[in-house]
Protein backbone atom coordinates (compact mmCIF):
# COMPACT_ATOMS: atom_id res chain seq x y z
CA UNK A 1 0.00 0.00 0.00
CA UNK A 2 1.39 3.39 -0.99
CA UNK A 3 0.84 6.15 1.48
CA UNK A 4 0.55 9.48 -0.23
CA UNK A 5 0.17 12.20 2.35
CA UNK A 6 1.85 15.54 2.76
CA UNK A 7 1.62 16.20 6.47
CA UNK A 8 1.92 19.73 7.80
CA UNK A 9 0.78 19.81 11.42
CA UNK A 10 2.05 17.83 14.41
CA UNK A 11 -1.13 15.72 14.39
CA UNK A 12 -0.78 14.93 10.69
CA UNK A 13 2.84 13.86 11.18
CA UNK A 14 1.83 11.58 14.06
CA UNK A 15 -0.98 10.17 11.95
CA UNK A 16 1.44 9.41 9.11
CA UNK A 17 3.96 7.75 11.44
CA UNK A 18 1.17 5.53 12.80
CA UNK A 19 -0.14 4.68 9.33
CA UNK A 20 3.29 3.74 8.01
CA UNK A 21 4.06 1.62 11.07
CA UNK A 22 0.70 -0.19 11.01
CA UNK A 23 1.20 -0.85 7.32
CA UNK A 24 4.80 -1.99 7.65
CA UNK A 25 4.34 -4.46 10.53
CA UNK A 26 1.13 -6.28 11.41
CA UNK A 27 2.42 -6.67 14.98
CA UNK A 28 1.99 -2.93 15.51
CA UNK A 29 -1.17 -2.29 17.53
CA UNK A 30 -2.90 0.94 18.49
CA UNK A 31 -4.90 0.84 21.71
CA UNK A 32 -6.91 3.30 23.74
CA UNK A 33 -10.38 4.41 24.65
CA UNK A 34 -11.23 6.60 21.65
CA UNK A 35 -8.75 5.44 19.04
CA UNK A 36 -11.51 4.59 16.54
CA UNK A 37 -12.76 8.13 16.65
CA UNK A 38 -9.68 10.05 15.59
CA UNK A 39 -8.21 11.44 18.84
CA UNK A 40 -8.14 15.02 17.46
CA UNK A 41 -6.46 13.88 14.24
CA UNK A 42 -3.87 11.46 15.61
CA UNK A 43 -5.67 8.34 14.37
CA UNK A 44 -8.20 9.84 11.93
CA UNK A 45 -8.93 7.47 9.05
CA UNK A 46 -6.70 4.67 10.32
CA UNK A 47 -9.28 2.42 12.01
CA UNK A 48 -11.06 1.87 8.70
CA UNK A 49 -7.82 0.60 7.15
CA UNK A 50 -6.37 -1.41 10.04
CA UNK A 51 -9.32 -2.68 12.10
CA UNK A 52 -7.52 -5.79 13.35
CA UNK A 53 -4.66 -3.69 14.68
CA UNK A 54 -6.89 -1.47 16.79
CA UNK A 55 -7.93 -2.29 20.35
CA UNK A 56 -10.76 -0.32 21.91
CA UNK A 57 -10.49 -0.28 25.68
CA UNK A 58 -13.13 0.33 28.30
CA UNK A 59 -12.41 3.15 30.75
CA UNK A 60 -9.91 0.88 32.53
CA UNK A 61 -6.55 2.57 32.75
CA UNK A 62 -4.93 -0.07 34.99
CA UNK A 63 -5.82 -2.65 32.36
CA UNK A 64 -4.67 -0.46 29.47
CA UNK A 65 -1.23 0.07 30.98
CA UNK A 66 -0.67 -3.48 32.22
CA UNK A 67 -2.07 -5.22 29.15
CA UNK A 68 0.36 -3.19 27.01
CA UNK A 69 3.12 -5.13 28.74
CA UNK A 70 1.37 -8.47 28.15
CA UNK A 71 0.90 -7.69 24.47
CA UNK A 72 4.58 -6.73 24.16
CA UNK A 73 5.75 -9.89 25.96
CA UNK A 74 3.81 -11.89 23.38
CA UNK A 75 5.49 -10.16 20.44
CA UNK A 76 3.43 -7.04 19.73
CA UNK A 77 4.55 -3.44 19.26
CA UNK A 78 2.10 -1.41 21.24
CA UNK A 79 1.03 2.22 20.89
CA UNK A 80 -1.28 3.05 23.78
CA UNK A 81 -2.98 6.43 23.60
CA UNK A 82 -4.16 8.34 26.68
CA UNK A 83 -5.95 11.53 25.71
CA UNK A 84 -4.72 13.12 28.93
CA UNK A 85 -1.61 12.20 30.90
CA UNK A 86 -3.78 12.58 34.01
CA UNK A 87 -5.66 9.44 32.87
CA UNK A 88 -2.43 7.46 32.46
CA UNK A 89 -1.77 8.22 36.13
CA UNK A 90 -4.99 6.43 37.02
CA UNK A 91 -3.27 3.11 36.24
CA UNK A 92 0.30 3.58 37.45
CA UNK A 93 1.07 0.10 38.82
CA UNK A 94 2.38 -1.49 35.63
CA UNK A 95 4.32 1.66 34.73
CA UNK A 96 6.27 1.62 38.00
CA UNK A 97 6.24 -1.93 39.28
CA UNK A 98 6.39 -4.03 36.14
CA UNK A 99 7.39 -2.43 32.83
CA UNK A 100 10.72 -0.91 34.03
CA UNK A 101 11.63 -3.99 36.05
CA UNK A 102 10.88 -6.44 33.22
CA UNK A 103 12.89 -4.18 30.88
CA UNK A 104 15.79 -4.42 33.33
CA UNK A 105 15.38 -8.20 33.37
CA UNK A 106 16.20 -8.08 29.66
CA UNK A 107 12.80 -8.22 27.98
CA UNK A 108 12.21 -6.24 24.81
CA UNK A 109 9.20 -4.08 25.54
CA UNK A 110 8.30 -1.96 22.51
CA UNK A 111 5.55 0.04 24.20
CA UNK A 112 4.83 3.67 23.37
CA UNK A 113 2.41 5.58 25.56
CA UNK A 114 1.22 8.67 23.69
CA UNK A 115 -0.08 11.21 26.18
CA UNK A 116 -1.16 14.76 25.75
CA UNK A 117 -0.66 17.51 28.27
CA UNK A 118 -2.58 20.77 28.38
CA UNK A 119 -0.52 22.85 30.75
CA UNK A 120 -1.08 26.59 30.40
CA UNK A 121 -4.04 26.50 28.02
CA UNK A 122 -6.80 26.68 30.59
CA UNK A 123 -7.77 23.05 31.01
CA UNK A 124 -8.26 23.10 34.74
CA UNK A 125 -6.52 21.35 37.58
CA UNK A 126 -7.10 17.80 36.37
CA UNK A 127 -6.36 18.17 32.65
CA UNK A 128 -3.26 20.33 32.92
CA UNK A 129 -0.55 18.38 34.61
CA UNK A 130 2.69 17.37 32.97
CA UNK A 131 3.87 14.23 34.76
CA UNK A 132 6.66 13.38 32.33
CA UNK A 133 9.26 14.38 34.95
CA UNK A 134 8.31 11.32 37.00
CA UNK A 135 9.25 9.02 34.15
CA UNK A 136 12.65 10.63 33.73
CA UNK A 137 13.39 9.35 37.24
CA UNK A 138 12.21 5.77 36.67
CA UNK A 139 14.93 3.52 35.37
CA UNK A 140 14.06 1.98 32.03
CA UNK A 141 11.78 4.67 30.63
CA UNK A 142 12.61 6.99 27.78
CA UNK A 143 10.69 10.26 27.63
CA UNK A 144 10.21 11.87 24.21
CA UNK A 145 8.74 15.34 23.71
CA UNK A 146 8.74 16.44 20.07
CA UNK A 147 9.21 20.16 19.44
CA UNK A 148 8.67 20.28 15.67
CA UNK A 149 6.22 18.41 13.39
CA UNK A 150 8.96 16.40 11.68
CA UNK A 151 10.40 15.49 15.05
CA UNK A 152 6.92 14.30 16.07
CA UNK A 153 7.08 11.91 13.12
CA UNK A 154 10.63 10.65 13.56
CA UNK A 155 10.41 10.26 17.35
CA UNK A 156 7.22 8.23 17.08
CA UNK A 157 8.64 5.91 14.43
CA UNK A 158 11.79 5.40 16.50
CA UNK A 159 9.67 4.56 19.53
CA UNK A 160 7.39 2.11 17.76
CA UNK A 161 10.21 0.23 16.07
CA UNK A 162 12.59 0.36 19.03
CA UNK A 163 12.61 -2.19 21.83
CA UNK A 164 12.02 -0.19 24.97
CA UNK A 165 9.20 1.54 26.83
CA UNK A 166 8.69 5.15 25.79
CA UNK A 167 6.54 7.92 27.19
CA UNK A 168 5.75 10.15 24.21
CA UNK A 169 4.36 13.44 25.46
CA UNK A 170 2.83 16.13 23.29
CA UNK A 171 1.20 19.41 24.23
CA UNK A 172 -2.42 19.76 23.10
CA UNK A 173 -1.79 23.22 21.64
CA UNK A 174 0.69 21.75 19.16
CA UNK A 175 -1.75 19.35 17.48
CA UNK A 176 -2.92 21.82 14.80
CA UNK A 177 0.31 23.77 14.67
CA UNK A 178 2.72 23.57 11.74
CA UNK A 179 5.67 24.85 13.75
CA UNK A 180 7.24 24.96 17.22
CA UNK A 181 5.48 27.08 19.81
CA UNK A 182 6.95 28.48 22.96
CA UNK A 183 4.95 27.57 26.03
CA UNK A 184 3.64 30.45 28.13
CA UNK A 185 5.96 31.39 30.96
CA UNK A 186 4.78 29.23 33.89
CA UNK A 187 5.66 32.00 36.36
CA UNK A 188 2.73 34.11 35.12
CA UNK A 189 0.17 31.33 35.55
CA UNK A 190 -1.35 31.18 38.97
CA UNK A 191 -2.73 27.81 40.01
CA UNK A 192 -5.97 27.97 41.91
CA UNK A 193 -8.77 25.62 42.79
CA UNK A 194 -11.43 26.41 40.23
CA UNK A 195 -10.56 26.11 36.56
CA UNK A 196 -12.63 29.16 35.64
CA UNK A 197 -10.62 31.37 37.94
CA UNK A 198 -7.48 29.76 36.62
CA UNK A 199 -8.41 30.64 33.03
CA UNK A 200 -9.48 34.17 33.92
CA UNK A 201 -6.18 34.79 35.60
CA UNK A 202 -4.29 33.26 32.68
CA UNK A 203 -5.95 35.27 29.93
CA UNK A 204 -5.99 38.53 31.94
CA UNK A 205 -2.25 38.23 32.36
CA UNK A 206 -1.80 37.42 28.67
CA UNK A 207 -3.81 40.52 27.71
CA UNK A 208 -1.86 42.70 30.10
CA UNK A 209 1.39 41.48 28.62
CA UNK A 210 0.32 42.09 25.03
CA UNK A 211 -1.13 45.53 25.87
CA UNK A 212 -4.77 44.65 24.98
CA UNK A 213 -7.43 46.18 27.19
Amino acid sequence: MMINKKPKTFAEHINLALEESLNQDSNVLVGGQLVRYGVAGLTTGLYEKFQNQFITYPVSESLMNSSAMGLALAGKRVVMIHVRIDFLASGMCALVNHIPIWYKKGFKLPITFICQVGKGMGQGAQHSKDLSGWFMNFEGWQVKTPTTPTEAYSMLKESIHGDRPVLYVIHRELFDSTESKPLPDPSIIKLCGASQRHEEEFYRTQKKLSGIK
Binding site: Y57, G70, L71, A94
Partner: protein
Protein backbone atom coordinates in the same frame (compact mmCIF):
# COMPACT_ATOMS: atom_id res chain seq x y z
CA UNK B 1 -2.98 -35.70 39.43
CA UNK B 2 0.75 -36.15 39.06
CA UNK B 3 1.98 -37.61 42.37
CA UNK B 4 5.53 -37.13 41.21
CA UNK B 5 4.94 -33.38 40.81
CA UNK B 6 3.16 -33.25 44.16
CA UNK B 7 6.15 -34.78 45.90
CA UNK B 8 8.59 -32.61 43.99
CA UNK B 9 6.83 -29.42 45.15
CA UNK B 10 6.45 -30.54 48.77
CA UNK B 11 10.04 -31.67 49.08
CA UNK B 12 11.31 -28.44 47.49
CA UNK B 13 9.27 -26.29 49.88
CA UNK B 14 10.26 -28.34 52.93
CA UNK B 15 13.89 -28.05 51.94
CA UNK B 16 13.40 -24.26 51.82
CA UNK B 17 11.65 -24.34 55.19
CA UNK B 18 14.72 -26.01 56.68
CA UNK B 19 16.95 -23.31 55.17
CA UNK B 20 14.89 -20.22 55.99
CA UNK B 21 17.71 -18.51 57.86
CA UNK B 22 19.73 -18.38 54.63
CA UNK B 23 17.04 -16.55 52.65
CA UNK B 24 17.20 -12.77 52.49
CA UNK B 25 14.23 -11.88 50.32
CA UNK B 26 10.51 -12.28 50.96
CA UNK B 27 9.74 -15.94 50.27
CA UNK B 28 6.26 -17.48 50.39
CA UNK B 29 5.95 -21.24 50.62
CA UNK B 30 3.17 -23.00 48.75
CA UNK B 31 2.67 -25.88 51.18
CA UNK B 32 -1.04 -26.70 51.18
CA UNK B 33 -1.46 -25.32 47.65
CA UNK B 34 0.65 -28.01 45.96
CA UNK B 35 -2.23 -30.19 44.71
CA UNK B 36 -3.55 -27.31 42.56
CA UNK B 37 -0.23 -26.98 40.76
CA UNK B 38 0.18 -30.76 40.47
CA UNK B 39 -3.16 -30.94 38.66
CA UNK B 40 -2.19 -27.94 36.51
CA UNK B 41 1.04 -29.70 35.49
CA UNK B 42 -1.04 -32.49 33.91
CA UNK B 43 -2.91 -30.17 31.59
CA UNK B 44 -0.54 -27.27 30.92
CA UNK B 45 1.55 -27.26 27.73
CA UNK B 46 4.90 -25.72 26.86
CA UNK B 47 3.36 -23.08 24.58
CA UNK B 48 0.92 -21.93 27.26
CA UNK B 49 1.59 -18.90 29.44
CA UNK B 50 1.41 -18.90 33.23
CA UNK B 51 1.29 -15.72 35.29
CA UNK B 52 1.70 -16.08 39.01
CA UNK B 53 2.01 -14.22 42.27
CA UNK B 54 4.37 -13.82 45.22
CA UNK B 55 3.48 -17.44 46.10
CA UNK B 56 4.72 -19.05 42.91
CA UNK B 57 7.17 -21.94 43.47
CA UNK B 58 4.49 -24.61 42.90
CA UNK B 59 3.28 -22.94 39.69
CA UNK B 60 6.82 -22.61 38.37
CA UNK B 61 7.71 -26.24 39.00
CA UNK B 62 4.37 -27.31 37.49
CA UNK B 63 5.16 -25.33 34.32
CA UNK B 64 8.34 -27.37 33.99
CA UNK B 65 10.73 -25.00 35.73
CA UNK B 66 14.16 -25.99 36.97
CA UNK B 67 14.40 -26.68 40.73
CA UNK B 68 18.05 -25.74 40.75
CA UNK B 69 17.61 -22.39 38.98
CA UNK B 70 14.70 -21.55 41.31
CA UNK B 71 16.65 -22.54 44.42
CA UNK B 72 19.65 -20.42 43.39
CA UNK B 73 17.38 -17.47 42.61
CA UNK B 74 15.79 -17.64 46.06
CA UNK B 75 19.25 -17.84 47.60
CA UNK B 76 20.26 -14.73 45.64
CA UNK B 77 22.96 -16.43 43.58
CA UNK B 78 24.35 -15.40 40.17
CA UNK B 79 23.38 -18.84 38.90
CA UNK B 80 19.73 -18.18 39.76
CA UNK B 81 16.92 -17.96 37.25
CA UNK B 82 17.19 -14.16 37.07
CA UNK B 83 20.75 -13.91 38.45
CA UNK B 84 19.38 -13.26 41.93
CA UNK B 85 17.73 -10.00 40.82
CA UNK B 86 14.13 -11.16 41.23
CA UNK B 87 14.30 -13.24 44.39
CA UNK B 88 11.49 -15.64 45.14
CA UNK B 89 8.62 -13.29 44.41
CA UNK B 90 9.16 -11.96 40.89
CA UNK B 91 10.70 -14.89 39.03
CA UNK B 92 10.57 -14.87 35.25
CA UNK B 93 11.40 -17.64 32.79
CA UNK B 94 11.15 -16.53 29.19
CA UNK B 95 11.68 -20.01 27.78
CA UNK B 96 8.61 -21.28 29.67
CA UNK B 97 6.39 -18.20 29.21
CA UNK B 98 6.31 -17.89 33.00
CA UNK B 99 6.11 -14.62 34.94
CA UNK B 100 5.47 -13.90 38.60
CA UNK B 101 5.20 -10.64 40.51
CA UNK B 102 5.31 -9.51 44.11
CA UNK B 103 2.68 -6.85 43.50
CA UNK B 104 -0.64 -8.36 44.40
CA UNK B 105 -2.83 -8.62 41.31
CA UNK B 106 -0.14 -6.80 39.32
CA UNK B 107 0.07 -9.34 36.51
CA UNK B 108 -3.69 -9.85 35.99
CA UNK B 109 -3.82 -7.12 33.35
CA UNK B 110 -0.51 -8.27 31.86
CA UNK B 111 -1.93 -11.80 31.52
CA UNK B 112 -5.03 -10.35 29.85
CA UNK B 113 -2.84 -8.48 27.34
CA UNK B 114 -0.89 -11.66 26.58
CA UNK B 115 -4.19 -13.49 25.99
CA UNK B 116 -5.23 -10.78 23.54
CA UNK B 117 -1.94 -11.20 21.61
CA UNK B 118 -2.41 -14.99 21.54
CA UNK B 119 -5.89 -14.53 20.12
CA UNK B 120 -4.50 -12.23 17.39
CA UNK B 121 -1.66 -14.67 16.65
CA UNK B 122 -4.16 -17.47 16.23
CA UNK B 123 -2.07 -20.07 18.07
CA UNK B 124 -3.51 -22.81 20.29
CA UNK B 125 -1.81 -21.48 23.44
CA UNK B 126 -3.81 -20.40 26.47
CA UNK B 127 -3.04 -18.15 29.44
CA UNK B 128 -3.43 -19.24 33.05
CA UNK B 129 -3.52 -16.30 35.43
CA UNK B 130 -2.97 -17.53 38.99
CA UNK B 131 -4.24 -15.30 41.78
CA UNK B 132 -5.20 -15.62 45.41
CA UNK B 133 -8.41 -14.59 47.14
CA UNK B 134 -6.99 -11.12 47.81
CA UNK B 135 -6.07 -10.75 44.13
CA UNK B 136 -9.80 -10.51 43.42
CA UNK B 137 -9.93 -7.41 45.60
CA UNK B 138 -7.87 -5.41 43.10
CA UNK B 139 -9.76 -3.22 40.61
CA UNK B 140 -7.75 -4.48 37.66
CA UNK B 141 -9.17 -7.98 38.24
CA UNK B 142 -12.69 -6.75 37.46
CA UNK B 143 -11.41 -4.65 34.55
CA UNK B 144 -9.78 -7.79 33.16
CA UNK B 145 -12.91 -9.93 33.60
CA UNK B 146 -14.96 -7.41 31.62
CA UNK B 147 -12.35 -7.04 28.88
CA UNK B 148 -11.61 -10.75 28.47
CA UNK B 149 -15.31 -11.56 28.26
CA UNK B 150 -15.95 -8.70 25.80
CA UNK B 151 -13.13 -9.95 23.54
CA UNK B 152 -13.51 -13.71 24.24
CA UNK B 153 -9.89 -14.20 25.28
CA UNK B 154 -8.33 -17.64 25.93
CA UNK B 155 -7.56 -17.03 29.60
CA UNK B 156 -8.20 -18.94 32.82
CA UNK B 157 -8.34 -17.01 36.07
CA UNK B 158 -7.26 -19.59 38.63
CA UNK B 159 -7.98 -18.44 42.16
CA UNK B 160 -6.34 -20.32 45.02
CA UNK B 161 -8.46 -19.15 47.91
CA UNK B 162 -6.65 -19.80 51.20
CA UNK B 163 -8.90 -17.37 53.04
CA UNK B 164 -6.05 -15.26 54.35
CA UNK B 165 -4.25 -12.10 53.28
CA UNK B 166 -1.21 -12.23 55.57
CA UNK B 167 -3.14 -12.10 58.87
CA UNK B 168 -6.47 -10.74 57.61
CA UNK B 169 -9.25 -13.29 57.13
CA UNK B 170 -11.44 -13.20 54.02
CA UNK B 171 -14.53 -12.46 56.13
CA UNK B 172 -12.94 -9.18 57.16
CA UNK B 173 -12.26 -8.21 53.55
CA UNK B 174 -14.97 -9.46 51.20
CA UNK B 175 -18.72 -8.95 51.16
CA UNK B 176 -19.86 -12.22 49.54
CA UNK B 177 -18.49 -15.45 48.03
CA UNK B 178 -16.23 -14.82 45.02
CA UNK B 179 -17.57 -17.18 42.37
CA UNK B 180 -21.17 -15.86 42.11
CA UNK B 181 -19.75 -12.40 41.46
CA UNK B 182 -17.78 -13.68 38.42
CA UNK B 183 -20.56 -15.36 36.43
CA UNK B 184 -22.52 -12.18 35.54
CA UNK B 185 -19.53 -11.08 33.47
CA UNK B 186 -20.35 -13.88 31.03
CA UNK B 187 -17.44 -15.98 32.26
CA UNK B 188 -17.73 -19.76 32.70
CA UNK B 189 -16.92 -20.84 36.25
CA UNK B 190 -15.63 -24.23 37.35
CA UNK B 191 -14.86 -26.13 40.53
CA UNK B 192 -12.70 -28.63 38.64
CA UNK B 193 -9.39 -27.28 37.35
CA UNK B 194 -8.92 -29.77 34.48
CA UNK B 195 -12.41 -29.00 33.17
CA UNK B 196 -11.69 -25.28 33.39
CA UNK B 197 -8.44 -25.60 31.41
CA UNK B 198 -10.15 -27.74 28.79
CA UNK B 199 -12.95 -25.20 28.47
CA UNK B 200 -10.48 -22.40 27.70
CA UNK B 201 -8.51 -24.61 25.34
CA UNK B 202 -11.47 -25.91 23.36
CA UNK B 203 -13.90 -22.99 23.36
CA UNK B 204 -11.29 -20.19 23.51
CA UNK B 205 -13.41 -18.52 26.17
CA UNK B 206 -12.37 -16.87 29.43
CA UNK B 207 -13.02 -19.05 32.46
CA UNK B 208 -12.68 -18.86 36.22
CA UNK B 209 -11.82 -21.64 38.65
CA UNK B 210 -11.77 -21.28 42.41
CA UNK B 211 -9.81 -23.80 44.48
CA UNK B 212 -10.25 -23.57 48.24
CA UNK B 213 -7.01 -24.45 49.97
CA UNK B 214 -5.43 -24.27 53.40
CA UNK B 215 -1.96 -22.78 53.61
CA UNK B 216 0.23 -25.13 55.64
CA UNK B 217 3.03 -22.67 56.32
CA UNK B 218 3.38 -19.16 57.64
CA UNK B 219 2.54 -16.36 55.21
CA UNK B 220 6.22 -15.81 54.43
CA UNK B 221 9.69 -16.78 55.58
CA UNK B 222 9.74 -16.05 59.27
CA UNK B 223 13.47 -16.20 59.89
CA UNK B 224 14.35 -12.95 58.15
CA UNK B 225 10.97 -11.21 57.75
CA UNK B 226 9.86 -11.66 61.33
CA UNK B 227 8.27 -8.25 61.75
CA UNK B 228 5.86 -8.51 58.83
CA UNK B 229 3.20 -10.76 60.26
CA UNK B 230 1.86 -12.21 63.42
CA UNK B 231 2.47 -15.91 62.74
CA UNK B 232 4.80 -18.73 63.63
CA UNK B 233 6.42 -21.25 61.32
CA UNK B 234 4.89 -23.76 60.77
CA UNK B 235 1.37 -22.79 61.75
CA UNK B 236 -0.29 -26.05 60.65
CA UNK B 237 0.68 -29.57 61.54
CA UNK B 238 0.95 -31.94 58.63
CA UNK B 239 -1.90 -34.37 58.55
Amino acid sequence: MSLEMLEKIVSFEKRLQMNMSKIFNPTHLSLGHEHVAAELSDVIRDIDWVFSTHRNHHHYLAKGGSEEALWDEIMGKETGLNKGFSGSQAITDKSLNFHASAILGGLIGVATGAAYAIKLNGTSAIVVCCIGDAGTEQGVFWESLNFSSLNQLPILFLCENNGMSVDARIEERQSTEIEPRIRPFGIDTFKNLTEAVNNVRELRRPSFCEQKVVLRAAHLNMATMMDLCDQKEPIHDDK
